[in-house]
Symmetry: C2
Subunit: 197 residues, 2 copies
Amino acid sequence: MQKTPTSLLELVSRLENLMRAEFRRAGSGQGLQPVHIQSMLFLQQANRFSNTPQALAEYLGLTKGTVSQSLLLLDRRGLVERYQDEMDKRVVRLRLSETGEMFLREANPTGLWNQATRDMSANRIRDSVSLLRSILHTVQGQSGKPLFGVCAACAYCQKKSQRITHCTWFGERLSIPETRKICREQTPKTSALAPGD
Amino acid sequence: MQKTPTSLLELVSRLENLMRAEFRRAGSGQGLQPVHIQSMLFLQQANRFSNTPQALAEYLGLTKGTVSQSLLLLDRRGLVERYQDEMDKRVVRLRLSETGEMFLREANPTGLWNQATRDMSANRIRDSVSLLRSILHTVQGQSGKPLFGVCAACAYCQKKSQRITHCTWFGERLSIPETRKICREQTPKTSALAPGD
DNA sequence: ACATTTTTGTATTGAATCAATACTATAGAT
DNA sequence: ATCTATAGTATTGATTCAATACAAAAATGT
């Protein structure tokens, strides 16, 4: 029974192992570990509600203490900047520095993946994204973990007009580019769970 | 450009992080790390040409020395058995012990995943498997890494009759269950790369 | 047949991740 | 005001992991 779902996990797992090895290679010049590359890639994508140590820890599935150490290293190397939040002074905000951005461009840890997916049909990719997103939603829900996903696919992301979008969860306006970023509080639209995407 | 492929990587990465956390939970009772769970899951799936430390190292993307340490621990715990190959006495063969099988059944590290995929359409899963398999093939090819995949999808897997299958790479007969296992030398059939699977 | 090289795996050492625990500081609640 | 919850850091110790060196068997070459 259920041979296919297992082999899907197999593939996800194996692909991640390969990418992990690729991240190791990409970071070896700078003495960076795979987890550092993953952290930087997350910060590149995280929206302004999700660029904190806590969110990163939840995203990586690690404890906040562990992540704090990684961030210390990335900070010392000048790859990531940390600054205090104005409203809530317990909160630390994170962002990639110019150096960090440049490092990602040059080391290009996702280059191999991009190359491999370049020639795939956009439709097939969209279908797989839709399926994996559903699985992700279920797994996250069952494990009681926060969700993470792009704003554009979130139920709280309300398009008021052509150019104006609001997040009704945080009650703030979003710019167009922001709706493509990753949020820790994402709640998938019901349509995203249906076969038709 | 290419926002969708990246978000596919995003999903694969995030799913693996979640499963990694799940593996950590599953192994915590026995003091096992995620990598041990991953190793045992591989050994459960690996065919008789691929149940060696070297193959496991390639599969995990780690060095053979590192994997040797993990196997030492799994051996001491009685979860994995190591024995010498008869033909090539350099080679160590690996298999899950009864205890190992039982541990996987009880800790059930993939239970969360199976639950999440239970209600997904078989067609959508098959399509995603097909796509990820293509991506895997390309990534593996470009990084010069060995391939890994199930025999049934391998170009060297020749069905002679209803019940008789031969691997023309190793030149040996395969049993029906064996064709569902994972081989380090898998070479995808060209049809596996086409949209229709 | 014999030396050389390659392949497979192990042992050892040191660096780095990671969790656990304890701690500080701010926010929120009663 | 006090008490509790939340966000983050510091410290400690166990464990992974790579690098290097090593041993044994097989493959190769002359």
